[in-house]
């Protein structure tokens, strides 16, 4: 069963993203929401970790949360899918089980 991992915290603040990526299996999905969206911006300390993870995982980011934080779409790491709340719902339906990293 493929999991949709949901990460809502910045990797600069918490280890939620690191733990998520350590425990996510190939074929799983990850969606970055709320403060977690900062990880989607390229050029940061964690960009390498994200790009590495993208080899095995499909990573998405919640667009409205990017917009709220002033992170423009052209700053988003290439290959990360920007979705709206409807897209978020679709992802939860598409994967077998959501897992929130709180």
């Amino acid at each position: 069963m493929a999991i949709l991992h949901i990460v809502n915290k910045s990797p600069y603040e918490r280890n939620n993203l690191a733990s998520c990526l350590r425990l996510a299996k190939a074929g799983a999905g990850v969606i970055l929401i709320e403060d977690g969206v900062v990880a989607a911006a390229d050029g940061g300390k964690f960009s390498g970790m994200i790009k590495d993870a993208m080899k095995d995982l499909k990573i998405s980011v919640l667009g409205p949360d990017l917009d709220a934080r002033g992170i423009s779409r052209d700053k988003v790491i290439e290959g990360i899918d920007v979705v709206d709340y409807g897209g978020f719902v679709d992802l939860v339906a598409e994967y077998d089980c959501p897992q929130s990293w709180l």
Binding site: S19, L23, K25, A28, C97, Q99, S100
Partner: protein, 135 residues
């Protein structure tokens, strides 16, 4: 209710600094009444929830760690503890409470509830779950 689902309760926080450890334990105990396939995972600071020797008089809070010992009686017999989380914190399974359950299918033999697993093993376990509750 004949549906049996695999429920995993994910714990990542130390006890007492926040209420999540205590209140998540309350959910786990209630889940026993629904005869589901329940297990718990302790990752990152969640491993501290299982540390033995918790003394809370000094902070004026109720010590709820004895409740973990009751889980076996409620048929919650699989407490997965991530090895990497323990090691990162300089801990071993010997630092954790000695939690047991009695296996009625094995002549009531006493078995350990705490199962130390690697990240890879825990990832496999998580992938099998149908409902994952985080606190």
């Amino acid at each position: 209710m004949s549906t049996v689902k695999k429920f995993l309760f994910l714990n990542r926080k130390a006890p007492y600094g926040t209420i999540y450890a205590l209140e998540s334990l309350e959910v786990v105990l209630i889940s026993a009444a629904f005869e589901q396939d329940v297990s718990m995972a302790f990752v990152d600071d969640g491993v501290y929830q299982l540390l033995k020797g918790q003394k809370t008089e000094g902070i004026g809070m109720k010590n709820f760690s004895p409740t973990y010992s009751a889980l076996g009686d409620y048929d919650i017999t699989r407490l997965y503890v991530e090895k990497e989380s323990l090691e990162e914190r300089g801990l071993t399974v010997d630092d954790l409470m000695d939690l047991k359950w009695e296996d009625e299918d094995d002549d009531w033999a006493e078995k350990d509830s705490i199962i130390v697993v690697s990240s890879a093993e825990l990832a496999d376990i998580m992938e099998q779950q149908e409902v994952i509750l985080s606190f």
